[in-house]
């Protein structure tokens, strides 16, 4: 094994990732990709689930260093459970976000993980909170996180509409994660989804071959009087080049 490959062997496992949570009238949809990478070169797990259930109706998505994120999440599950027993009722989403924030802020020099906390409670219904790296908490209608999220800011800004239905929300979330996975090399795999409403939480998994496909390129080429139509599905760049190379093959035939 040549020495230049050793970079990933000594790298920490990180969830270069794409995570997203969207609130709709009646619940929240939470989603993530499923790739864990080391050093940006090696995929250490292609089926990891970054959507963690911290309570019956509260979920949390992890991003950043996987070890840190898991440690914080496990500590938060324990603390939230205890808190809920003391109060004698299901915890508020804001409490869960607060507990995560306390860990992130207190140990902010040692930790390197960001979270999205989303769920449903009886006091304020569906809520989405972003708990970022240093411990800031912001409530939003939808939020994205992880390395893959930079590529979909434009898409989210353009396509989000308040007042979506559950189905529209699921499509919106799946599309966003797919677009991010197409561009970010440390996001990929399958799409994990969770939907939380008053009646409970439901998980979904969308395998790679069932993900939406975004663009088709049609190349019409006339050569020696024969018209050749090539239709290729995939993202715009991939399709364009597949179509171009097919054109070259046709020319040889």
């Amino acid at each position: 094994m040549s020495s230049h490959n050793n970079g990933w062997r000594s790298a920490a496992v990180s969830t270069g990732t794409t995570i997203i949570a969207v609130r709709y009238d009646g619940g929240v949809v939470i989603g993530s990709d499923s790739r864990a990478s080391m050093g940006g070169e090696y995929v250490s797990s292609r089926v990891i689930n970054k959507v963690v259930q911290v309570h019956d109706k509260i979920f949390c998505c992890m991003s950043g260093s996987l070890a840190d994120a898991q440690a914080v999440t496990n500590a938060a599950i324990h603390k939230l459970n205890f808190h809920s027993m003391q109060m004698g009722e299901p915890p508020l989403v804001q409490s869960a976000a607060s507990i995560m924030r306390e860990f992130c802020y207190k140990h902010r020099d040692e930790l390197s993980a960001g979270f999205i906390v989303a769920g449903w409670d009886r006091k304020r219904g569906p809520q989405v909170f972003e708990v970022s790296l240093g411990g800031m908490v912001v409530e939003q209608e939808f939020t994205i996180g992880g390395s893959g999220s930079t590529y979909i800011y434009g898409y989210m800004d353009a396509k989000f509409k308040p007042g979506m239905t559950r189905e529209q929300c699921l499509t919106f979330t799946t599309n966003a994660i797919t677009l991010a996975m197409d561009r970010d090399n440390v996001s990929g795999g399958v799409v994990h989804l969770a939907v939380v409403t008053e009646s409970g939480a439901e998980r979904q998994l969308i395998p790679g071959n069932k993900l939406p496909v975004f663009s088709r390129v049609l190349l019409v080429n006339e050569y020696l009087g024969i018209q050749v139509r090539v239709v290729v599905r995939g993202n715009a760049f991939e399709s364009f080049w597949r179509a171009q190379s097919t054109r070259r093959v046709v020319r040889r035939v």
Binding site: Q140, I152, Y153, Y155, A158, F160, D182, R183, L218, A236
Partner: protein
């Protein structure tokens, strides 16, 4: 674009501060850019036109280090002039892109600029070439600059082949608007250049006229 000083770090560490996009339609191309030039945290020029002509119907979009990008554009402008006199007709867009690529590749360690070359010629119609880091590739559309990261998802989802000229212009304006609202190094006004067989049309869209999207 950055009019960066040496204290900003070597050319490898500088952030590319801009958003540029070029897209091809049947019969021409549309190029778009924002207008911000930053030096560290301050905006040095808020109305700079980053779409610079290389020839009558070939334009390039500048991003990265302002000095490097402008110099490459000027050199290629001169080389294309000489070339077109030698061949006695208008140069091909591929020729312009190759000249840009040659400079980018030869001096890739010293330069820190990405130019997107787009234009119209009689042989192949509208074409867009990306010349990042010395590679040369033809694409249906190309985006570049720091603002481009935020809009990859949007352009992947929204691009459809065979768009008309007006649809392409709308697409470019929406994309620029989204990128400018998310990227700290992009902003100001949007410049649009449309090139087809009939000629070149330059347009400037003021900030207040840009489309607005969901603002949390």
């Amino acid at each position: 674009m950055q009019a960066g000083s040496a204290s900003d770090g070597g050319s490898k560490g500088l952030k590319l501060g801009t958003t540029i996009i070029a897209i091809e339609f049947d019969g021409g191309v549309v190029l778009g850019s924002d207008s911000r030039v930053s030096a560290g945290e301050s905006v040095v020029n808020r109305v700079m036109n980053k779409l610079s002509p290389l020839h009558d119907k070939i334009y390039c979009a500048l991003s990265g280090s302002a000095a490097d990008a402008q110099t490459i554009a000027e050199i290629v402008n001169y080389q294309l002039d000489v070339h077109s006199i030698e061949i006695g007709r208008d140069p091909l867009v591929l020729s312009a892109a190759t000249l840009v690529k040659n400079i980018s590749y030869k001096y890739k360690e010293d330069l820190s600029a990405h130019l997107i070359v787009a234009g119209w010629d009689r042989r192949e119609g509208g074409q867009v070439y990306a010349t990042l880091n010395g590679l040369l590739t033809r694409q249906p559309f190309a985006v570049g600059g720091s603002g481009s990261f935020y809009i990859y998802g949007f352009v992947d989802a929204e691009y459809k082949p065979d768009m008309s000229k007006e649809e392409c212009q709308g697409f470019v304006i929406s994309t620029l608007s989204l990128a400018m609202s998310r990227d700290g190094s992009s902003g100001g006004v949007a410049y649009l250049v449309t090139i087809d067989d009939k000629g070149v049309e330059e347009k400037c869209i003021l900030g207040s006229q840009l489309p607005t999207f969901h603002d949390p």
